[in-house]
Amino acid sequence: MADPISSPPRVLSAAAFLKLAASLGIVLLGCSLSWDSWPAAGALLAVTFAALAFAGFTLKALARRLALFLPVITLVAISIPLSQGFTASWMQLAGTVIIRGAVSFLAGLWLIRVLPFDSLLSTLYALRLPAVVVASLAMMHRYLFVLWEETSRLRIARKARCLGRQNRIAQWMAGIGMVGMLVIRSLDRGHRIHRAMLARGWDGHIRPWP
């Protein structure tokens, strides 16, 4: 809960609000479409691609991100018929999941591109999202970068000691070990961050600042 004395005013930027609303609109529209309405889905995807191009996204950058996203959403889509049985319409169902996921993912990419995360947080706060949620998002964003840097350092350190080609299984085993190490380090870091927050007078209440 925020301290009423020190809570800053919730000022909404019109431009930031419009960007957020447009992005949410695309997601909602995308999620309302099914495989049968593929022309509308195609049009929506085209609009989203155009928006991404205007936002300065290169085709290469987009392809790299889609290459990471599409296998995951495809697995999710296939998991439905795998668990419920391959009925006559399983392909339509899987296709609908992929379309909805792809539209939402692209809308999210566009939003990140046109609205800096800091402005997004301010907008969410102005839209009366609870302060604790905004603060959690801010810390998550901050420490994702720290975790990513730590992962990169671990990978480089591992490569530096791999003096020959490793087979795939050895790479996976090393990767699993690295993930375990990251979890332990993250827990440790969380403990240290908590101490640093306490040292600056944190009493469990989130008091945001614009």
Partner: protein
């Protein structure tokens, strides 16, 4: 509990580094500078052996102390005690002279954590642990907001603290996009914004390049509250500290004026402070 008026930084440095003032020349520590007393402190983490054993010393308001010792000597643990961040040691009581930590006469226990943390500002070794705001301004505002200050006062403190550390233009900068030296100074601004009477710093010069080290040293030179600095940097110790405490294997091994301790090569070698 009323807020203590703060020890402040003098105006920001000129382009050339200011000469280090001698203890006599340095602005007299304000009455708000904090006194520290550690009495026979013994501490072990859960399931481990003693990290600190029978450590005793006292620090007068406005004194500038360097805490030296090899890695694993217990320096960081001792600093955490000064901010009431570790499980309570046995309660300290001036009257009965029992063991513990006292900050301005207050036992450093969980019960007194808030007044203790208002008096003592702790700078952690790794800036990533301390810099958790999305922007520099938000991070620096974290402490003043927790002090319950109104928005105008928080803003004033943020601006003043950023000015003190030479990061005036960085309030809206993403904390991810800072160099290590800038991160350390942003962390220091976060501590200074709470206007503590005592600064406790854990390895503030670690991994800094010479320019970053110089800048940080200049900022600390101008702080006129009590200063306790854990470091391996003997040049910084010469510059900033009037007195040295040597901690090794959790025990206080030496306590004396900076010149005397730094001239004792045998002592420094024995405790791994010089190669």
């Amino acid at each position: 509990m009323a807020l203590i008026p703060a020890a402040r930084l003098a105006p920001p440095p000129n382009t050339s580094p200011p000469p280090t003032p001698s203890p006599a020349e340095r602005p007299q520590a304000m009455t708000t500078a904090v006194a520290i007393e550690v009495r026979r402190l013994t501490f072990a983490y859960s399931g481990g052996s003693n990290v600190l054993t029978d450590v005793s010393f006292s620090v007068s308001p406005g004194e500038r102390i360097a805490l030296l010792g090899p890695s694993g000597a217990g320096k960081s643990t001792l600093l955490l005690h000064l901010n009431a961040l570790l499980p309570d040691p046995p309660p300290a009581d001036f009257e009965t002279d029992s063991a513990g930590v006292l900050i301005d006469g207050l036992p450093a226990t969980a019960q007194n954590a808030n007044p203790i943390r208002r008096r003592v500002g702790l700078l952690f070794q790794n800036p990533e642990d301390q810099l958790f705001g999305s922007t520099v301004g938000r991070d620096v505002a974290f402490g003043p907001l927790n002090l319950g200050l109104d928005a105008a006062e928080v803003q004033a403190r943020v601006e003043q603290a950023l000015n003190d550390v030479g990061l005036d233009e960085f309030a809206d900068r993403d904390t991810v996009r800072l160099s290590l030296g800038e991160r350390k100074r942003a962390c220091l601004a976060g501590v200074l914004a709470c206007q503590p009477g005592c600064l406790v710093l854990d390895e503030p010069f670690a991994n800094l390049d010479p320019r970053g080290r110089r800048r940080l040293s200049d900022i600390l030179t101008l702080f006129n509250g009590t200063l306790l600095l854990a470091t391996h940097d003997l040049d910084a110790v010469r510059e900033l500290a009037d007195r040295i405490l040597v901690l090794d294997d959790g025990r206080l091994c030496a306590d004396g004026p900076t010149d005397t301790i730094l001239q004792d090569k045998q002592l420094l070698t024995q405790h791994g402070l010089v190669a």
